[in-house]
């Protein structure tokens, strides 16, 4: 009996994964097609635009071959590094997206909508920068982890407050995380122009010490650094935590049905706070990775809305760590390649926001995709994204 069901089960699982992937992939494809239409309407050439987007995010094959030839002939690495620059730059852009996407995804798994990733990201970055520039003389092996941790703690604190308010008073986390964002923005305005202001007149922090920098793997201008691998590690840890530990199971249970979870003796209050602390910590790590790996200082224009894009990434990735990594890579490649597209094909970078927006609409309303591409809905237990007021 069991002999006959095993392959069937496997087959079923495979088709389930396939159908799980189908809608996001089609959503991205549709987003790109609609983006192309917008490009056409605005009087530009979509092939040129997407060609530039591709070479901007992956690199130009011609350049790569040239670079390899020059390298093998003369040992000169400059051209070769330039050929790899776009690809590494995309991974650099994806790094904070992975961390922040994981933050929002973790919240979704517990039925919490963490809109506060942006604020947590900012506070995390400021904390990491503070540890990075205020302590001098430590060896890297201590200073760097300390700075990374500083960012995580700052973000965790920022996430804990709405988590506690939700658990203790039932205050809705959507409202409170938005509020916390504004507090973070205004607090950073003040900090950058006050206690954390560096030398000179500009409202920016001092530059961090070299001992707090995430090591870069290549010479300038390549900014690819250890942060990307830390992000992948974080994704694995979140996966392990959610799916391989008792606590993770509890969190998913609370997300699926808090009443049942409570009846089963799970501590709802503790889980809400715990998840918001962890989510805040992950968003804070995004800030750490960005400031310690890329920027080295924080100014008012530090973020390009990573925390808000993270919501889209979590949705696109179906709140699964692997999905989040893939979605973050997609966003990273789109965002990074947009620079080249803007320069070579004079397409405003805003087109990327349009494509991203359309992808999100299709993800949020998968029925559109299912209807357009004639896909039958697969009946399965849906992931709970968020719950209504006061629940």
């Amino acid at each position: 009996m069991s002999n006959t069901t095993a392959p069937e089960k496997k087959e079923k699982k495979r088709s389930a994964i396939w159908s799980e992937l189908l809608v996001p992939v089609l959503a991205v494809v549709s987003g790109l097609i609609l983006g192309a239409i917008v490009i056409v309407v605005s009087g530009e050439n979509p092939f040129r635009a997407y060609g530039a987007l591709f070479t901007g995010s992956f690199g130009s094959p011609v350049r790569l071959i040239d670079g390899l030839q020059i390298y093998s002939a003369t040992g000169e690495t400059r051209q070769l590094l330039r050929a790899f620059y776009p690809l590494t730059e995309s991974l650099v852009t994806a790094t904070p997206y992975i961390f922040a996407g994981l933050s929002v995804a973790l919240g979704f798994r517990c039925g919490l909508f963490n809109i506060g990733a942006e604020g947590q990201f900012f506070i995390g970055a400021l904390s990491a920068a503070f540890v990075g520039y205020s302590i001098q003389g430590l060896p890297m092996i201590i200073h760097l982890p300390l700075a990374i941790l500083g960012g995580a703690l700052g973000g965790a604190l920022w996430g804990m407050i709405p988590g506690y308010l939700k658990a203790r008073f039932g205050a809705h986390e959507v409202v409170n995380t938005i509020m916390m964002n504004w507090i973070a923005f205004r607090l950073s305005d003040w900090l950058l122009d006050g206690p954390m202001k560096g030398p000179g007149f500009r409202p920016v922090t001092p530059t961090i010490f070299e001992t707090a920098e995430l090591p870069r793997f290549f010479p300038d201008p390549l900014r690819f650094n250890l942060g990307f691998f830390l992000a992948l590690l974080a994704a694995y840890l979140v996966y392990w935590f959610l799916f391989k530990t008792t606590l993770g199971f509890e969190i998913r249970s609370v997300g699926a049905n808090p009443d049942a979870a409570k009846y089963a003796g799970m501590n709802i209050v503790r889980n809400f706070v715990l998840v918001m602390v962890l989510a805040g910590g992950l968003a804070g790590l995004a800030g750490s990775a960005q400031v310690l790996g890329v920027d080295y200082w924080v100014g008012q224009g530090f973020s390009a809305g990573y925390g808000f894009d993270a919501i889209a990434i979590a949705l696109l990735g179906k709140s699964h760590p692997l999905g989040v990594v893939l979605a973050a890579l997609l966003f990273g490649f789109l965002r990074s390649g947009a620079t080249n597209m803007q320069s070579m094909a004079s397409i405003p970078i805003d087109i990327i926001s349009i494509i991203q927006g359309m992808v999100i609409v299709f993800i949020a309303a998968p029925e559109i995709i299912r209807w357009f591409y004639r896909i039958r809905a697969v009946k399965k237990d849906e992931t709970v994204l968020t719950r209504g007021w006061g629940s």
Partner: protein, 337 residues
């Protein structure tokens, strides 16, 4: 129904193929690339004015100009690198926040030429031209005009953040008001800035229109009827308040607000012009002429790098006074500070 989708798909693909034939790059002139600050190319202020200089060079000198917008500080390095890779002849960066990235790129690529708006290096870098402005000369005129136009005897200014580039506006403004008082025996008061104490009214950012609105409101309630906001886009919050309440007028900064914020034309007394377009154009021209040299370009009333737009409702007497003051500043008989 299925056929319908197929037809749609064919149409989309066809439209893409057909349009693929168009396009093509511009001429082979001098290549100029501008990297904006976070405000973006259409900020109606800083970046837009600087780009107007590039646009003028495209029209008059036939250069091949384009821009890249920065959406976060990590973009500065990346956008500059993009232009370095494209072997752009002159890379123009806008705003002091790009100071570090421009310096790093200039030192790593000594063969490339750079111009940076609103930033001066000390010591100067051989391949970077800093474009700075004696804006206090223009705000001196604005202060004079405000003092000559106020009905309540109080004028005001406020800023984004108390940093020298912002304070320079306010110092000149106060000095201009004081000069008017000396010349005409009046006692017009300045609210929101005190040069002696080096402090004044600041909102702490350059973005929030709400903050700009509320600080303008409180200064007007203290009696001011002319307000000069020095805070980029946030200043428009002040203009909005004046337009709605009808109780005050504003002095625009950086660009002529009757053009860039024309919806508020009725309440715009005049504008302090920081002609970044002139400076950028001059920089591009120097590269084309082969006379480019690193160092500093200082925009003044004399070289038209700064100026004051026409003053609304000004009497002939006030206009004559403004002309005399301008001439005095140019030939050095009037000290701005």
């Amino acid at each position: 129904m299925k056929k319908f989708h197929f037809v749609m798909a064919v149409l989309i693909v066809a439209s893409m193929v057909l349009t693929a034939c168009g396009g093509g790059a511009g001429g082979g002139g001098l290549k100029v690339g501008m990297v904006t600050d976070l405000g973006g190319i259409d900020d109606k202020s800083f970046n837009a004015t600087a780009y107007a200089g590039v646009q003028q060079a495209i029209d008059e000198l036939g250069v091949d100009g384009k821009y890249l917008e920065s959406t976060q500080q990590a973009d500065y390095e990346k956008n500059i690198q993009q232009f370095v890779d494209e072997e752009t002849d002159l890379i123009v960066t806008v705003g002091f926040l790009l100071g570090d990235a421009t310096k790093a790129a200039a030192e790593a690529n000594p063969e490339s030429k750079f111009a940076i708006v609103d930033f001066a290096y000390d010591p100067t870098i051989p391949n970077v031209l800093g474009l700075v402005f004696s804006i206090d000369q223009a705000t001196f005129l604005a202060g004079y005009a405000a003092a000559g136009s106020t009905k309540t005897g109080k004028v005001a200014t406020w800023g984004g953040i108390n940093i020298p580039p912002v304070a320079d506006f306010m110092i000149g403004f106060e000095a201009g008001v004081n000069y008017y008082n000396e010349q005409n025996g009046t006692s017009v008061e300045v609210l929101g800035w005190d040069t002696a104490a080096n402090e004044g009214a600041f909102i702490g950012n350059f973005e929030s229109l709400d903050d700009g609105r509320s600080i303008t409101e409180s200064l007007v309630q203290e009696g001011a009827d002319i307000v000069m906001p020095v805070a980029g886009p946030a200043g428009l919050g002040g203009a909005a308040y004046c337009a709605e309440s009808g109780s005050c007028m504003v002095i625009g900064v950086d660009t002529d607000w009757t053009i860039s914020a024309s919806e508020y034309t009725d309440v715009i007394l005049t504008s302090v012009l920081k002609n970044m377009n002139v400076a950028v154009f001059e920089a591009i021209k120097s590269v084309q002429d082969g006379t480019f040299a690193g160092g500093l370009y200082i925009g003044t009333l004399a070289n038209d790098g700064v100026g004051l737009a026409a003053v609304k409702g000004a009497s002939d007497e006030l206009n004559a006074g403004l002309d005399a003051v301008k001439q005095g500043i140019i030939d050095g008989t009037i000290a701005v500070r």
